[in-house]
Assembly symmetry: C2
Homo-oligomer: 101 residues x 2
DNA sequence: GCCAAAGTTCGAAAAATATCGAACTATCGA
DNA sequence: TCGATAGTTCGATATTTTTCGAACTTTGGC
């Protein structure tokens, strides 16, 4: 079982990144990965069926936002901080910064 | 004929902004408005039927990205630069910056 | 008042996404 | 080897978006 190929930084498409981040669950996942460094899928699932969680992680992966490393049976996900920063400087800091509600 | 109410800066939702910008046509409109300052809908339409153009402008407006001013029969659109910058510092500069392809 | 221009709104149809259960794969431990 | 655990994949359905023509509104000019 192989993941979709990790897009190289220069292959990351801004529209795809925006689409990935337009979903509240996915945005939340990105924020938590930023806080926690690495996390398994289930650690971030919010009571959803796993097929749904898996779908959202796939979208994040395909957009180039996260990287997934298989550690035994669990998959550890991490934000591709440096690569995203390289490709779209300032985007992540804007996504991750706390804002007044 | 009245437009949907202009969301106040603090009402602008990041997910909605991302969704609005995830469409190539809308992203292009935002970039051109940034360059040209103000433009009518038809000046930015790319050979689409006007109902389609109108739809995309509505999405941009509802997300809080643009402001529309009626000047006679034509509607002049402008990017809400300062308000977006206030709400999500750095976002616009990241969207507007040229990147190597 | 009439007409054209610029958009909006409506409605229906097409396309893209999301959701979720079920079956499947891979890995670890007993 | 047998489970159990962690995810993925598949397929079907539901929801959301997009698209576009037709009808409508508003404004300006004649």
């Amino acid at each position: 079982m192989r993941h979709a190929r990790l897009p190289a930084p220069e292959e990351i498409v801004l529209e795809d990144v925006f689409h990935a981040l337009s979903d509240p669950f996915r945005l939340q996942v990105v924020r938590r990965l930023a806080m926690e460094g690495e996390a398994s899928c289930q650690a971030l699932e919010g009571d959803r069926p796993k097929s749904s969680v898996s779908h959202h992680f796939r979208v994040l992966r395909a957009a180039g936002l996260i990287r997934t490393r298989n550690e035994g049976a669990t998959h550890m996900n991490a934000l591709r901080r440096d690569e995203i920063e390289e490709r779209f400087p300032g985007l992540l800091s804007c996504v991750l910064s706390k804002r007044p509600e």
